[in-house]
Symmetry: C2
Subunit: 353 residues, 2 copies
Amino acid sequence: MPRIAVDAMGGDNAPIAIVSGSMEAAKKGIPIVLFGKKEQLLTICSMINPSWQTTLPISIVDCPDIISMDAISMRQIINQKTSSMYLAVDALKKNTVVACVSAGNSAAMHTLANVIIGRIPGVLRAALASVLPSVTECPIYCVDLGANTDCKAVFLEQFAHMAAIYVKEMFDIEKPRVGLLSNGHEPYKGSSLVKETYQKLAESNLHFIGNIEARDIFDGHADILVCDGFAGNVMLKTAQGTLKAILHMLAHEANKSLFAKIALKISSPIFSKVKSKLDYAKSGGALLLGIRKPVFIAHGSSNSKAIENAILFAHNLANNYRLEKINNSIEKLFKKETSCMSTSNQLAQENVY
Amino acid sequence: MPRIAVDAMGGDNAPIAIVSGSMEAAKKGIPIVLFGKKEQLLTICSMINPSWQTTLPISIVDCPDIISMDAISMRQIINQKTSSMYLAVDALKKNTVVACVSAGNSAAMHTLANVIIGRIPGVLRAALASVLPSVTECPIYCVDLGANTDCKAVFLEQFAHMAAIYVKEMFDIEKPRVGLLSNGHEPYKGSSLVKETYQKLAESNLHFIGNIEARDIFDGHADILVCDGFAGNVMLKTAQGTLKAILHMLAHEANKSLFAKIALKISSPIFSKVKSKLDYAKSGGALLLGIRKPVFIAHGSSNSKAIENAILFAHNLANNYRLEKINNSIEKLFKKETSCMSTSNQLAQENVY
């Protein structure tokens, strides 16, 4: 069975949580290649499961370097050719693995995916895309969640098209409803970027339902939510921060009286269910939508469960040709657009990587 | 006692909730002038309290027009000189009232405040500023929450300075800690706007503590959070949306079993406390920081409690010369800066209103 590359050194809880999550995925039969400091990884693997070498489909590729969370220069990231992240992405390029997962420096992963693997022809920017929970049964697919902090309207228009193709294939929704994150639902609300994007989406053949206020994102009105990576990141992390604050406040109240402690103890199973619905760990990391091959960025603070889910998600998407089908549709759409649209020159100019 | 102007026709729940909130504030002895359709307001007042004319310090100014939530052109807003919002702001200019409150179209209110009242000399943009709750005792003062969707670094730098003066006066914090909303805490993270602002704040005499991720906004690490109006609005509304989603999910779980229903019923007083801490209605509206006189924008979906709180807040800030003191300090600081900084030409050019 094709293997998944895991950057074992990336993330706040690396390497222990990454190895542990990888071992859980391996138990489910998914072959894993861990990229990182071999001696350290061997020790952790043996501590978690002494018989792993004979029972689990895990191999290790020794990588002397680690891309730190502080690595800022693109040149620095690209030139460090023996980092765990570089070698994991490179293995994907060379087809020794079918997908790559990292919880490390997301900007570095974005850069390496662009430089080593490359984007689908016609794609101006790859975007970080993931599912957010909603109060209905239908989740909302958000793009971009942080890969592109400075965007143009033409990027957001492409994000919408890519996401529509993805949602159609993955969730079987023929014409997904596309919403645009804004500071008001009225068509005239928004930054100049949002206003320009609004026009483009309104004129497109997408099922565009207009602006969506951040207050209504969980209501399930849209299947896709389009935003620039800065706003998307603020939205995602505010939701996490609010949940964290509520749990903190409840714990604080529980400490004030025995009644409160007992009351909260009784309702804790209900809380756990709600918490689990909003838990980013369950989403299994975000896909770099627009990259030629499956590259996944897990949350920097991923625990082992989040890593396991990211690997399961990567395995599912890489092994049944679904992402290949999605990417082919994206290429076909943008090729058609590039050849007939006025944006063709712009498309060519925008290929900055 | 000086009076507060209230735009009775602005907001999703106008005029009933606005009148009702105003009457509650009037009961506490605050004289109110309601601006709106006189016949309608007389009817509502009498329905709520038949003896209001003899017992409450409320008067009504008849205004034939209403600025709708869809009013988009600045010219349209400024030219409608008999709208309730226009006349309320105009009364503030003419000193017949000491502060003005509206839950109507916030962009229109921002425009009218700029055009009719004007900004403090040296201020490039007025910003919507309000307190967010935190898990500590210390609240966080956020600026901008939606007045300026397209910002320059020099605006954000000014927001930080104005907020620092406000927080020093209002919360008695000598050197408030200033954080910058970004997509990562590392100094190199952020959009180009955030990166440029980071440099300016780092070089300023403010107590700048660096970037703050949206996940950590409620942790109480900063006294002030600076952001552009688009990101600030997304942050504020995502927090509201997350709370709404959690409450919805809990109600949904409660419907699934008798045990869940009883458990949640028992813990409902604890929830109410937490909900109340996160309730925007308690914040009492946002101040347009940088405008010469006290103009307050309450949330569009304000209920009567939110309006009452906004009026109490306006009364408090207008009647003890605290805002006057704050505004004088802002004027003094920016006058000094304009005369000695390289931004002086820019400052002059930026006065677009």
